[in-house]
Every structure is written in C-alpha cells, then in structure tokens.
Amino acid sequence: MRKLILLTTASLTMLAMICVASVSAVEISFDRYYNNDEVTAHLKSLNKAYPSLTKLESLGKTEEGRDIWMLMINNSKTGSDLDKPGIYVDGTIHGNEIQATEVCLYTAWYLLDKYDKIDKVHELVDSRAFYIIPTVNVDSRARFFEDANSYGIGRTARVAYDSDNDGLLDEDGPDDLDGDGEILRMRIRDEYGGWKTDPDDSRNMIRTKPWEKSEWRRLGEEGYDNDGDGDINEDGVGYLDMNRNYGFSWQPPYVQSGAGNFPMSAKPNKAISDFVISKPNICFDFAFHNMGGLIVRGPGSKLAGTYPRSDVEVYDFFGHEGEKILPGYKYIIGGMDMYTTHGDFDEFMYSNLGIFGFVGELFFSEKVEYLPKHEDVEDDEDAPSRSIQKHKFDDFVSQGTMFRDWKKFDHPQLGEIEIGGWRPFTSRIPPTFMILEMCHRNASLVLFVAEHTPDISMKLLEVEDIGNGLKRVRIRVENSNALPSLSRTAIKRDIYRQDMITIEGSGLDIVSGGIVRDIHYDRVNNIDHHPEKIFTHIPSFGKRDVQWIVRGSGKATIKYDAVKAGNRSLTISY
C-alpha cells in the first residue's frame, strides 16, 4: 500500500510538472495572498470557465454583509452531486489565518485546471462532489487586508462584544498611532519592566534575570485609551470565535471563551451548518487553519468521549499517509495533544453529523528558521534563539521585509514610547515564495482522501437451487476504499438512513432475506419484516454479503442506495 502511494504521489508531481507548459483557462498564480475581492473574482472566473463542472453559490451574508462563497465542483453530466461521495473543504474560520483561503482556492483551481490534463483528476471530478468554501470568516479576512492591522486582530467574527463589562461594545481596540497602516508593538523605558535589548541583536528583546536592571516594559499593541477608562486596548472587536460557535457540546463563554451567545449564533456558522445538513453525501471534511504544521482529528474535549475503534482506524490510515504527503506535519488528537475545545467545526461534523474530518494546521515555525539542519543543533547551546533566527531569516531570505525597527513616538497618555516589531503577514503566515508548495501538498491530501471515499461494487456470489423449488441468491457488496459508507458514530447515533439494499423483479416471491453474518459457517441474520429491503452499511475496505431465498425462477434487479456512497444496481437471473 505504502509503495503504491509513494508512486501515486510521485506520478502526480511529475504530471503536474509536465502540465506546466500547457495553457490554463484560468490563470491564478500562487505566489501572493489574495484579498476578498480578488478571491471572489477568481471564484467567479473559475465558475465562468467551467460552467458544467462548477456551481458558485453564496450561502448567505456575513455580519458585515459580505457573501460566503461556496464553489461546488461536480460534473453534472455524470449525475447529481447528492448521488456521489462528497468532500467538503473550508478555510480561514479565523480571519487572520489567511493562507487557508489560498489552499482552498488552489484545490479548486487544481481540480478544474487538471480535469482535462490528468486522468486521475478527471476521474475524481467525474465521480465525486467537492464543496469548497475558501473563506468562512469573510469579514475578518477582508479587513485583515484592508485595515491597519496586526497579527492578533481578526480571529473573531465581527460580532460586537463587551469584553471589559462597561456596557460599551468594542469601544477601545488598537489604533494605528503612527499612521503607517500597521498595528505593531509598543514599549516604554522602564528599569523594572522585565525586558532588555538582546546583546546579540539590538532589534530583539530578551527577559532580564531577577538581579538585572531592565530597560523596557512591553505594552502590547499600538493604541490609545479610546474611552478614557485608564486602560488601553481592553475592548477591541469581538470576541466571537466561530470555531467555538458550532453545535456539538457547545459551552457558554464562561466555559469556552469566544463561544458566542448560543450555538450557531454567528451568521456564517448558521449558513454553513444549514449547508452541510443539506449535503448528507459529505464523507470527509477539511478545515484549514495555520498553527503548528498539524493534521488534527478529534475528540477536542472530554465531552465528546472517545471515538469508536473502527473510526480511529480510518483516521489513522489518512493521518499517517498525510504525515508523508506533508513532510514535517504531525498527525495528532486535538483534545489530547493540544487543548480542550468546545463547539469547534471538526467535532460538530464528526460527533453531530458522523462525518470524518481533519483540521489542517498549515504553518509551522521551523519553516522560517535559519539553521543548517534541525537535528544537528538540537542540543547545541550556542545555537541562536528562535527570535534571532527569525531575524536572520528576515535579513537574508525575506530581505528585511518582515520587521519594523523600533521608532520613538510621543504617546498622549503614556509619554515617550517606541513602536516597532514584527509586521502583519509575518507570524504564522509563510513568506509568499512558500505558498505554492504549501497549497499543492495540502491539496494533495484532499485528493488522496477524495480517492478513498467509498467505492462500492456489487457482484453475484451464487444462485443455488436448495430444493423444493427454492433458490438461494447471495450477493456481495464491496467497498474497495478506506472510507466506510457510514462512520461507526453515524450508525451508533442513528444520524442517517442506512444504506438500503433492495431486490425487485416481476413475480419475485421472497421466502426470506438477510445479511450473511459468516459465509463459511453459513450464519444468516434474517430480517423479519420486508426482507426485500435490507438496511446496512459497508465497512472500510470491507464487504457485506446479502442473501435471499426465493421461489421459482426469473430475473431480479438488486439495488444499492446509500446516503454517502452513491447508487449501484445489478441484474441477476435465478
């Protein structure tokens, strides 16, 4: 299996390289970040260039009236999207994690651009449905580009919240004091401030030892005391974290900060939950974020319990391959290896709707380190600190575009201060020359999972005359892929109608019917009522054998009809 995947990945890359020369209907270069208008324009061009493969839909408006775009990729000539396994991909639920949008956009572009160029992509697009929402937090991502900004702003939905309990909403956020279009950091001279200039690099500050005199106190983000309460920046925009506002095991803000007033209270959450409910064919979802270089699965909290073993095996299959498709990324469990979260999208999809999914954390700081080879310096005490490395990286790789040197400023409330620090787009957002590889590798994991949506086939095992004019018909329904037709949780929690296997034919007289529990020991679980209609599900890389005992002879059609795994049919003679 492993070899096969390596080969597949290799051939994919080769093909991608071969195709470089060919013409694209829509040209999008993945060497920069696109603002909301540009992303919207790209989606519209893709939709216009591929009318029979795409549908562009606004799922609704955000708090500030922007459209939440969903691009569906489905070949309508090969059937309705609802009859095919669906893959859902979204990004940037935290408005400051902007590169997630590029990954989604690339995935969409790649599937469409390569449709006529790479056979495998052609087949995937013809047999699966893709639902891509490049930006969930449209408002905050748009403002990340438009407003004077810092990295810290923009995780929230644009829902006003009284963070400092004074009855006023969002009245004292950061301000661009020096009018340079960026919110940087403030520091002030202070002998007891806890920080001093790094002797190795004057741009950097390090903590002082308890017996040393300090030089600086750090004052956080640029800003005034806008409301005259004596505090600075104590009530900025929000905070409502849309990735804590989904429905499963939602907890109020005093338990889960950023939860919002009630589940799905943010407009995008409501719009997206309505959308995914309307697409029960979704088998797997990706939600892209940007912290840590991780492939994360749930459970995110103790309240979600532990996941059933058979589902964990499916997760592990994708997680372990994912770590190779994305070198350096780690496959982890959110609630155990990171921190507890309530009301996140991933848990909603899995525990509420029984849909597998990963959170893709795109960026990891090792990417902007300035070191020869990680292993060699692991124990080297003389190795430069992370911050110094980042400065060196900035100096010699990013050509000094990432950091603004400290500059004096006369603050109306604080007196003389200095403003400077790492600029927006430099923390957890990779330099633009790294975008393409990030996009392609992550899209490749999406494609890999898409390849493994349930692929069902039916075959006749036997029609055997068992005497007295009775015949035993046995068929086998097989799934050649890793994703089961329904997750264990979906079955256990009765979330969907199960897969239906029916038999019909003129004059068909059924004596009994049921699922063959053990074909070698001849054990059958007969169905007492309506044996012509059997409800079941097909496991990961597994099968279901079904048997009917019928009277006489004739022709019959056996149909398989699944919510997530499509429809099949088989005609037999008995």
Partner: protein
C-alpha cells in the same frame, strides 16, 4: 397531611372537579390560533403601553409572538416571561394571557416601573397537539424527523383503533409480558417485580398499527423536536426529540436572539410544569468545580504536578497561579483548561436569596388558599429555558406551575378522630408531640414499624431541634405506605383517586396484527390540564405573587456622597454605590457568565481634574439589600465646581447626582 381546604374558593374548585369527574378534553383552553389572536388583541387595544414582536413562524406555520408591555418613558428593569415552552402546560399559556390582561387593566400602574416581555406560547406546534383528534400526548414541533431512519418520514404514528378520540395503550397477555394488573383497581397496571419472584402477564403497547409493516409500532409519528428541551444549558445530544444541537429549532433560537438583544432584561419567569418557587432547584452534585481533576500534560509540565494524580480544584488554581505568575487567574479559567465543562448547580449565595423567596411564596400560597397538597412539580429536563436563563443568561429565574394533580386524602384515614395520624403529627408543635408521652410515641413507632428510633431518642432530638414533627410525620407516612403499597405508580394512583375518568377502562379489541388485545389506560393530558372551569381561579389566585417577586429586583442607587477638603482646591470625594433591591446585582452565577453587566460609575468632572481614581469604573457584584461599593476620587478644582456622578445599572436602574465641590458638600 396538611389540613385544608382553608378557603371556600379552593373547596369549590376541588368539589367541582371531583363531582363532575370530568372527562379530559381541551374544551375551553385557547388553541395556538386563539392565543395568537388574544395576544394581537391585547397589543392593538393597548397601543400606548403594548407592542407586538413577531419572532417568526414555526415549521407548522404558527405565530411566535412576544408581547411587550411597558409605559413609554419607563426604562426600568424588564422581565422576560415565557410560557409553555415545552408545549405541555395549558395552564401556563392561560396564565400568561391573564397576566397580560391584568397588566393592561387593574395592574396598569406596574407598567411604569417595569417592562414586561411576555411570550404566552413558546412552542405553538407542540401545544397544538393538545387540540388534535385523536388526542395523543406529544409536545414536539412540526419539524419532520425520520425517527426510525428508514426510507420514509413520519410514516408510522399511533392510531385511534377503538375510535374513542384518545390514543391510549394496548395490553395483551403475552409470554414476554412484564406487567400485571393492580389489585382492586380496574384500570391501573404495574410492573411485575421479577426480583421478588413475580412473573409478568401483560405486555403494553401504544394504541396503533404497524402502518409501514416494518415490525415496529408507532416508531415514526409526525414531528419533531421539543424546543423546550433545546436550550443550551445541560442540552443532551443524541435524542431526536431534543434536536441535533442546542438552539437548532426556530422557536428556541427566536427566544434566545430576542433575549440577548434586550440587555434590560433583569429577570426570567417561566410558566411551565416546573416550580422553583415551591422548592429551589439545587441542580446536580456534579459539574465544574466539584471533585478532583487530572491536569492536561501541558499544565502538568508547567506546574510540575504529577499528570497521573487527581487534584482538587482549589489546589490546581493555586499551582497555576504560581506557575504562570498570575495571581488574578480565576477558577473558571482554570476549569476551562481542565475541560471541566459547565456549572451544574446554582451558586450557594444565589441559593440563599432564592430560599428566602420560596419561604415568602409558601406564605403567600397559604394565605391565598392554594396550599392544598398536590403532586410535586417535575424536575427540569436538560435543555430547559429556565435553567438557561439562570446559568447562561445570568438573571434570577423562577418557574411557576399553576396546577398538578391534587392529592385526595382517602376517607377511611379520617374515620377515628382520636387516632394520631401522621397528618396530625405534622401539624403539632414539638411540645405537643412530646406531651403525647413516651408510651404513646413508642407504640406509634412500633405500629408503623420504625426501628431506628425510640421515643426517648426522638424527644432528645426534638429538644435539640435536630428533628421536627414534620420529619417524623414523613417518616411514619413512608413506612405506612410500604405496608399498603399496591405496587401502582404513585402519580397514577393519585390521578385515579382525583378523577377516575382520567383512565379509559380496558375493552377488548381485535387487532389486525396481534389478535385479541385490550385498549385502555390513562387519557392523554389528564395529568397536565385541569378542568377549564377552574383555570381562571387557579391563575388569578396565584399571579399576584409575581408582583411581589418583581419588587425584589436589584436596584442600584448613588448612596451617601462625602466631600472632604484636603488642601487648597483639593477635594476627596467618597461615594457609596448601593443596591437597594433584595436580589444581588448581578447574580453570582451572572458574574461568572458575565451577564448582565455590573453597574458602571462614570465621573463627569467638568473643569476639575482627577488626581487619583478612575473616570470610569465597574461597581462589580453588589450583594442584595444594601450591598455597596465605595468609590473614591481625589480632585483638583475651584470651590463650587460642579461634578456629576453618573451610575448606569443596565438592568438594575440608573442614577445621577450633581454636586459642587465645597466643604461638607453633597
């Protein structure tokens, strides 16, 4: 058992219900359409004080209406009242309408001090089922749910086979039967006690057919979700009638949105089946902050704690404060890190206020003549609006039911007037009881089979006030009940004693699938809806307590203000921000949930400058009945400079005081 009835009114009500032995039907009660009409009517005929909020339409196309009542210039605290959110409280909706009528007539003056948001029917679809024929007890909305996950929706509901207008039960002698008839009772059934060697005879099923021939009966009826179980405190997943997630339903979402859009709401009142005025809901022994926790690996690393050991929360908070050098780290924040979830019991200081209110309610009920013994109101299910209002919305929340099945004392118990019954003991003072003498007490205990106590011990405990006659009565009663236990469900027996017509006698029926069965049992809604004839007296008699309740709302004021000269043009201003209401502002749980916002004090200092002190500051939590916070400023300004203290109480009123800077001013 308490002696009653004390009032003529009450006696009449009981007699009326008893003598008529009324059959159960919705007759008289307003259906959702009529309620909607009545609400619109009140709104349109009281234009100056009333406003109608249309909160949308349900899946069944019914109105979700919120009636706002309040004088135009009234900016006082508001009360959110939602009735019949679960769809199972006919008296609740009637009471809400009655209250709206009273507030727009006899009690109109109340509208100048408080604003009321009254939703007489929170679950119109669910309640509409009360008016269905045949009558079937179900409170879910009209959202279509494929309850049995087959290939059809709502295809197999119950059927009224015997055509009596009620969906009751079917019983059949069957090898799998687990039920027996209750001896000496023609209608009640009870479970066989297998562990006592009893074998069951009957199986019980809901009256109906297997409409879709799948072998299950009535497994997928029409609807839906109960929005009254769909609120986000203690919401339970994976029960189709609760909804997929909290606030998934139009009805619950509409109320939640409305509530958060109205920060002036200071109190919640629910008219449903629960009653927290009769007994404070103490919640669960579990929940965040109770018991011990293991630290997640990152916390263990930072604090040096053993990741495999359980620590009590207090100790963990201390470790975290030390490790992160943050003495202000709150327990709630640490609980969040521990993934401990939500609070499941009310704050104990809040409870002390609520307990006082229950005492006042008891007195009121007694004086009003509504204290006759009746079945206890049920406890909250998870996902109720009432619990959400306290735990998440942060306001004092009260739930009122207006009726449960009255407990009718059996006549034979009263035959011998000299006999000492538990009911008589309950009414006795400690001294009266002791005066019965040791011999008599011992014989009472022996008769009832109480072995734990002797007369001597009881007398000692009574003298030390560690025992009460009430508890003795309860103990004797429960022992005696064991002896007489027919095995019947207590609530069913009580209902039967109250109204025999609440049960359909078992009659034979030839069932197409099962063959011979009998159809009978409890009439739907018979324990939820009293005869309509008594409803007006029930609600009119109990509603006045709400006026008392509203008077307990917190109210913030600027109390004493002291000015002291500290030098030329230097003034020390001291001011006491005081809560003159009975209830704390906010509640202790409200402080935790950061809602409502504590009072804010702002100093408009004019030409004076502030040398010390904050221009704007929060008063924080102000305990009830005189709880206060002292605010101090040091100002520089000329004699006679005028300054203004502006107090915003949000949902606890507001106050403003202008003073001039001078010796002994204010």
């Amino acid at each position: 058992m308490t002696q009653r009835p004390t009032l003529f009114l009450c006696a009449t009500l009981l007699a009326c219900a008893l003598l008529m032995g009324s059959a159960i039907h919705a007759g008289g009660y307003k259906n959702p359409e009529a309620i909607s009409k009545a609400v619109k009517n009140i709104a349109s005929s009281n234009g100056t004080v009333a406003k109608l909020h249309d909160l949308g339409k349900t899946a069944g196309g019914r109105d979700l209406l919120m009636l706002e009542l309040g004088a135009k210039n009234n900016s006082g605290p508001a009360i959110l009242l939602v009735a019949n959110m679960e769809g199972n409280s006919p008296t609740g909706s009637e009471a809400a309408l009655k209250l709206a009528e009273l507030l727009t007539s006899e009690w109109k003056d109340d509208l100048s001090s408080n604003r009321w948001y009254i939703m007489p029917l929170g679950n119109p679809d669910g309640y509409a089922r009360f008016f269905d024929s045949p009558l079937y007890e179900s409170f879910v909305n009209d959202r279509s749910v494929n309850a049995d996950k087959d290939d059809a929706f709502d295809e197999d509901g119950p059927d009224d086979l015997n055509g009596d207008g009620y969906i009751t039960m079917m019983r059949q002698l069957h090898p799998e039967g687990r039920w027996l008839k209750v001896e000496d009772n023609p209608v009640l059934m009870r479970r066989a006690k297998r562990d006592e060697g009893e074998k069951g005879e009957y199986r019980l099923m809901v009256e109906g057919l297997d409409n879709d021939g799948d072998g299950s009966f009535n497994e997928d009826g029409s609807g839906g979700v109960n929005p009254g179980w769909n609120f986000p405190h203690r919401f339970r997943h994976y029960r189709s009638t609760n909804g997929l997630w909290a606030a998934s339903e139009l009805e619950s979402r509409a109320v939640l949105t409305f509530a958060y859009d109205h920060p002036e709401i200071a109190m919640f009142i629910g008219f449903g089946r629960q009653n927290t005025l009769a007994a404070v809901s103490t919640g669960s022994k579990r929940g965040a902050g109770k018991g011990s926790y293991k630290l997640p690996s990152w916390m263990a690393e930072n604090t040096g704690a053993n990741p495999d050991q359980m620590y009590p929360i207090g100790e963990i908070v201390q470790m975290a404060r030390d490790a992160f050098g943050n003495p202000g780290l709150t327990e709630d924040r640490v609980l969040q890190w521990l993934g401990a979830g939500a609070k499941l019991s009310p704050d104990k200081i809040d409870v002390s206020y609520l307990k006082e209110i229950t005492e006042r309610y008891k007195t009121f009920i007694k004086d009003a003549g509504f204290d006759s013994e009746r079945l206890d109101a049920p406890k909250f299910r998870g996902g109720s609006i009432d619990e959400w209002a306290y735990y998440q919305f942060g306001v004092p929340a009260f739930s009122v039911d207006f009726w449960t099945v009255p407990i009718i004392e059996k006549e034979e118990e009263e035959t011998d007037s000299t006999e000492i019954t538990p009911a008589k003991i309950e009414e006795m003072s400690n001294e009266d009881f002791i005066a019965l003498g040791a011999e008599k007490i011992d014989s009472l205990l022996k008769e009832a089979g109480v072995e734990k106590f002797t007369a001597e011990k009881l007398v000692t405990l009574l003298n030390e006030e560690k025992m009460s006659t009430k508890r003795i009565a309860k103990m004797l009663k429960s022992k005696m009940k064991d002896d007489e236990d027919s095995g019947a469900d207590e609530d069913e027996q009580t209902l039967y004693d109250y109204n025999e017509k609440a049960f359909v006698p078992w009659t034979e029926y030839d069932h197409p699938t099962y063959g011979k069965v009998e159809i009978g049992g409890q009439v739907p809604y018979s324990d939820l809806a009293p005869d309509y004839a008594i409803v007006d007296s029930l609600v009119s008699g109990q509603l006045p307590f709400l006026r008392d309740l509203v008077k307990l709302l917190p109210k913030v004021e600027i109390g004493e203000v002291k000015i002291e000269k500290k030098g030329k043009d230097i003034w020390k201003v001291e001011c006491w921000i005081t809560n003159v209401g009975f209830l704390p502002y906010p509640t202790y749980q409200g402080k935790r949930s950061r809602r409502p916002i504590p009072a804010v004090v702002e100093l408009e200092h004019g030409s004076a400058t502030i040398l010390e002190g904050d221009k704007i500051l929060s008063a924080g939590l102000l305990p009830g009945t005189g709880g206060n916070k002292k605010v101090t400023w040091l100002l520089q300004g000329k004699v006679g400079t005028s300054i203004t203290i502006d107090l915003k109480g949000f949902s606890a009123g507001k106050d403003k005081r202008t003073i001039s800077l001078k010796e002994g001013g204010a």
